[in-house]
Structure formats: structure tokens, C-alpha cells
Symmetry: C2
Subunit: 402 residues, 2 copies
């Protein structure tokens, strides 16, 4: 009575596995600042709760498998603001971006097929892929280059006859990279040349700083039949607990096939969809305000990191994460040490070791991911704690590894 | 740029595929009674909505990947009423029973492994299995025997070295069968002998009529390490749109491995879990009332069907479905004809052809599934319509095929 190989070989969440150390610290009375998770503290627009609370029916019925027409309509309108034209029958509502990713993988790849993804990548890409027997092949990117893509040639070298798609998050989790228009066009041309799908995880679309131009794969006409946009309300409207995501694609056969999976799980929760309809009507000004807030936080984090000896971190341009190289041999050991053996006036921080975001063995060992989802004061304090921790860490490398 | 074989070979929902014919009938002004879907008309307990509307936080945050502790606790207590003892760390909350099934399959079977299931079965078993490359092997059951299980020997004949589990719904969808204690014990002994998991889909646990004894797989001590109970609030509390399901198992390794899948999709919606906590506190009297209502409906349906010439239908003992053999060669043609070409005083009915619930080719061609989820008046009228339709159907078999 063995469990399956696919489940036993699945990686446990590197973001969550150190939680027991944090719990231990808290139980000793130490305050822990959580920079390890992407749970924003920004208020969810009130319109969400109002709509949910206004639900009047007696029976909480199944909704449509493809999603509520009003929500699909709201998302279609939202995309129009970004010059993307997705019709009603080109959008499916999913249980978070997570299900959108899982369903896309199932629909595109058979067992032992391959999907390329720039590493470090969102760790659950690997989890979902392993669960459904798809191999993620990494395109390695580097801290020194701000995690931008390597040359076309280097990417082509990873492609095999089993490659079915390229999967990218842009803005990037965990790196905060925002790909340039040239990078997007390069990926598009590779996809066309090698006949691949593009799975574009754009859940952080609005989180781009410094007035940088953002190019969605939905804006590249020549590949519109091969682009699948994965989206979610989680970060955009600080509604992670709603679990409302979506798939948008102009490839009608892809949508028709994924609809079978949607029908299999019947529907996405009714009330959360009703709330999400209102989220998509949130005025532009909300994003501007939120964006400004995150930019401030990004600056605090970035400036502080660059003032620490031996830390390498290029300025992240999007999302709310950064991957920083630390002057330590093993970042996981350091993260644990910060929780177990260190505190500054009764306070410490929790970070995510970055190794789990890489698929190539040995990479990312000296890196951590930090999420800047705390208010300015707490973030500043967290950076003081990190600085003090690095200074006191007994296994600190005296010469940086960079 | 082909889509995967697993998605293209996946069966489309036989319950939903005739929807366009119903829509056409409705557009012609014909009233359609829906006996084709399992959406009950019973009121969802108000406590669900109250709890949701009472949510006070500003940020709709992620919940725990394994589910909210209060909900897990409520489910653990619920099982105690049925003499099942599942601890907090033996229960996981899922996106409906659907996700519980999908995750169980992934955790138990690798590609091309097999899971046995009595047919006719809930059609999405096949859908999920195809999506993750698991082969469902049918144990054929028959209308003439009220869809009870065949002999131990017949079941053993379907087992191969690739068989990993037996999957059953009890009470049964689509058949309404309730397995006897002897049948449950036979399955348990086979599972033990051949070292198989038992995936027990018991979402209709409370829907058992005529004072029949109900035996859960959770009550069979000798197989407690190999039993996985799939559950859901959808039918139990008429809360299909909440999409709250669960997995319960005393096999801790199984739970630990499935938790990785739960972490991959982060969490189940927060608000719906808050509502579900209250559902599980619904007093016994609710079930008694609901049960009585369904029993009345079952009787109306069963008596009416038995008064129709050439219709075969053993009295269903549970859930709210029945599979009936009709005196027609092709039930799907008849279902379509009822929608396209027939009405009784401007009214007709929609049924689900049963062929899609069988995996053995050719079986169920002359059968339909009827859900008795309408009130007594509408149900009686629906039966009049069916009777009149059968009488008028030009391709009716003069001698029954039974």
C-alpha cells in the first residue's frame, strides 16, 4: 500500500517548512517579523465584503463551471484597460491562480513532457508539475543580472522535442524582475519558432515601479493563439483568501478543453465570485495608491540591503519580492539561526531560503527571498535586525561569495 | 502546438452536454423541469450566511493550507456522531469533494495505475482520473439487482498488479444504492487481501431511507489505515456553491503527502470555511426533516416509474438519484426528443442519459438518471410528462428490452 511516486517525490513548500522554528521563537516571547510570505497587509476593497454580505438567496447553489457571466464580463473589461481583447468565451474562472496553472499544465502536457521556466521560480510551479508528471526545465537567471533572461541561444539550448510550453511570471515571483519588451518579444519569437505555448503568470501586473513600461504577453499579436494568461485577485486586490483566479486565452480549443476540467470540479465558490465582480470595478486610483505604498517599501528594503556588507541585490522593479545574496554559505542555516539563536531587543525576522525556488541543484544556497509586505516602520526595523544578525552570525563569510 | 492526449481524451460531462437542447426549449417558451442535475432546492441553513456576513476583518487573508482549525474540529466532532474518531491531524479541508477525489487519486496512483469503481459511477471519477492518467476499471452492477455489488470473485477478477484502490460512492450516485454491511465488509476484506486503499465517497451519508442501517468504511476497524473518506457540505447542507469538502484518513503518511498538494494551492476560501464551521453545528433535526422530504419525493418518483409500461427501476434506498431502464433503444435520443419534439401543455422534462455513467462500452444505453430534487408537485408533474412522452415516443420499443 505505497503512495504514488509522484506525490512522494513532490517538494514540500520551502516557504512553509521553517514555520516550526518561528513558532518556537514566538513561544519564547520573541516578536517575529514575517518577510517569508506574500500575504499583503493592504486592505481588501470594501466593495468585496459589501457584495458578499448583500447575498439574498436562500440556497447557495452551484455556479456555472466556466464562472459567473458577470465576473467573466468584469474581467474582460479589465483587460481592455491593458489593450487586451478577451471575449466572454475566452475566459474561465478558477480556484485561484493555482488552479489556473494546474489546469493549464494538464491541458498542454502529457506525462514526461517538459515546460521551460526561468529559475528561480514560484516554487509551486514545480509542485503542480510533479503532481501531474510534467518536468519543469529551468532557464537559469542570475542575481548579478537582476534575474533578467539569458540570450535566445541559451534558452533554445534547453528546448527538446518534449518541450510544450514556456512558463513565466512577470513581474517575477520570487525575483521582482520585470521583463523588458525585448525579452517578451524574444520569448514570443522562440514560442513561434518551436511551436510552444506561453503560460504567462501575470498576477502582479499592477506592481511595477519607477514608471517602467510593462509588456503583457497579451499584447503580442503574433502569438495570441499560443498565449495563456494566468491571473488572480489575490495580490491585485489584496484578497488572497478569496481564491479567485482566471485563465484567458484566444486559443478557443484550449479553452474548450480546459472547460472539461472546470466541469469536473463543478464550479468555483459562488459568494467569492460575487465579491470578485466588485473587485474588478475598483477604480484606477486604488492601484496608484497601493503602488506608491509598495514602492516606498521596496526602496526601504533595497536601500537597507545595499548598506549591508557583502549583500548583493539589484533593484527589483516589480511584484513585492526580492532575492538577495547574503554573505553566508548556507542561507537556510542562517534563516534558522535568526529564528533560534538571535534576536535584537526581543525581535527577529523570518525569511524564505531561496534554494527551494531553483530547480538546478546547488543554486540559490546563499540567497533568501524577502517579501516587502509590512508597513514602513516594521520593514525598517526588520532591516536593522537583519543587519545586526549578519554582523553577529558566527558562520558569516568574511569575503563575500560574489 | 497540440493539446495533451489526456485532456483531449477526457469525457465531456454527460450531465451538462444536452444543456443547449434545454435552452432551445426554454427559448420557445416551454417550461423545463430539471431532473438531470443534483442541485437541491432545500434551504441552506441560515447560520452559514450569518457567519459569513459577520466577518469583520479588513484583509481577506490566506487561510491555513490544511484548513481552518475550527472547521477541522467541527468535522472531527461531526464524525464522532457516527462512531468515527478522526483527530485534527487526520482531516484536510478541500475545494469540494471534487478536490478531495483528485488529490486522493494523485497521492495513490502513478500514471497507468488502476482504481476500481462499481459502474455506473459518478461521471467525474472518470474525468479526474483521465486528467491525471489513472485508469478506472469498472465493477459492473445492474439495474435488475438494484445496483448492488457482484460477488467477491467477480470483483477479484478485475484486480491486476496495477490496482491501487477501490473507489465507491455510498449512498450511490447515480444509482441510489446503499451497500449492506456485508458488502462493505466484503470490500474491506478484498482491500486487505490485495493491499489496496479504499476511497469512500460518502457525501450522501445522511440520505438513507426506510430506516435502513448505514455502514461507513470509517466504521471498519481492520482497514482504518487504508480508508480515505471523501466528504462535502454540498448535499448534506444544501450548500453546493460553498465548495467545501474534506478528506479524512487515519493513514498519517497519506495525509502528510496530500498536505503538500494542499500547500501547493495555498488554501481553500476563507469565508466559505467560516460559514461551513456553522453548518457542521446544524442540529440533528435538520437532517430528519430533509430526509423525510426526500423520502416523499423518492416515493413519488419510484411509484410513478413503476406505473409506466416497460420501465424498470428497483427502489433506491439512498442519495437522491435513481437510474431507470426505459423501453427505448437509445435513452439519449429519447432525452433529446423530450426536449426538442415533445411537451405536455407547454411543459417538458430534462433527464441525464445514463450511458455516460458507465465505463464499459454499450452499457446503460437504455437508462436515464433522474434526480429527485424538485418539490412534490413539480415531481408529480414531471412524472406525468415522462409517462406521456414515453407513450407518444415514436421509437418506443413495444416489448421491453429487459
Amino acid at each position: 500500500m505505497n503512495l504514488s511516486k509522484r506525490i512522494t517525490s513532490m517538494q514540500a513548500s520551502p516557504i512553509r517548512k521553517l514555520v516550526p522554528y518561528a513558532q518556537e521563537a514566538i513561544s519564547k516571547g520573541i516578536k517575529v517579523y514575517h518577510l517569508n510570505i506574500g500575504q499583503p497587509d493592504i486592505k481588501t476593497p470594501e466593495t468585496f465584503f459589501k457584495a458578499v454580505k448583500n447575498f439574498k438567496k436562500d440556497v447557495l447553489e452551484y455556479s456555472f463551471s466556466q464562472g459567473m457571466p458577470e465576473l467573466i464580463d468584469a474581467i474582460s473589461k479589465y483587460y481592455k484597460n491593458y489593450n487586451m481583447d478577451f471575449k466572454q468565451d475566452e475566459i474561465l474562472i478558477t480556484n485561484g491562480g493555482s488552479e489556473a496553472l494546474l489546469f493549464s499544465m494538464i491541458a498542454i502536457a502529457d506525462p514526461y513532457d517538459e515546460i521551460l521556466a526561468p529559475e528561480p521560480f514560484y516554487t509551486n510551479y514545480n509542485g503542480f508539475a510533479t503532481a501531474v508528471n510534467v518536468n519543469i526545465k529551468p532557464i537559469t537567471t542570475k542575481a548579478e543580472k537582476g534575474f533578467h533572461l539569458p540570450s535566445k541561444n541559451e534558452i533554445e539550448n534547453v528546448i527538446t522535442p518534449k518541450t510544450k510550453a514556456i512558463l513565466l511570471s512577470n513581474p517575477g515571483n520570487p525575483t521582482g524582475v520585470v521583463y523588458s519588451k525585448e525579452e517578451i518579444e524574444m520569448i514570443a519569437s522562440i514560442a513561434k519558432e518551436y511551436n510552444l505555448f506561453i503560460i504567462a503568470d501575470e498576477v502582479y501586473r499592477e506592481f511595477v515601479y519607477d514608471g517602467l513600461e510593462y509588456t503583457s504577453f497579451g499584447n503580442i499579436k503574433e502569438v495570441e493563439d499560443r498565449v495563456i494568461i494566468v491571473d488572480s485577485v489575490s495580490k491585485r486586490y489584496s484578497a488572497c483568501g478569496a481564491r479567485i483566479g482566471s485563465i484567458a486565452s484566444k486559443n478557443k480549443e484550449f479553452i474548450a478543453q480546459v472547460l472539461k476540467l472546470c466541469q469536473g470540479r463543478l464550479c468555483v465558490p459562488t459568494l467569492e465570485q460575487i465579491g470578485a465582480i466588485e473587485l474588478y470595478k475598483t477604480p484606477e486610483s486604488y492601484f496608484k495608491e497601493v503602488n506608491l505604498e509598495y514602492k516606498k517599501r521596496r526602496d526601504i528594503l533595497y536601500n537597507a540591503l545595499n548598506n549591508m556588507n557583502g549583500v548583493l541585490c539589484k533593484k527589483p522593479k516589480g511584484a513585492f519580492y526580492v532575492v538577495a545574496k547574503l554573505p553566508v554559505e548556507n542561507a537556510e542555516d542562517f534563516v534558522i539561526w535568526m529564528l533560534k539563536d538571535f534576536n535584537l531587543n526581543g525581535e527577529t525576522i523570518m525569511m524564505a531560503p531561496a534554494e527551494g525556488f531553483y530547480s538546478t541543484k546547488g543554486l540559490g544556497k546563499d540567497e533568501v527571498r524577502l517579501a516587502y509586505i509590512l508597513n514602513e516602520k516594521d520593514l525598517s526595523k526588520s532591516m536593522e535586525i537583519l543587519k545586526a544578525g549578519l554582523e553577529k552570525y558566527p558562520k558569516k563569510l568574511t569575503k563575500t561569495t560574489i
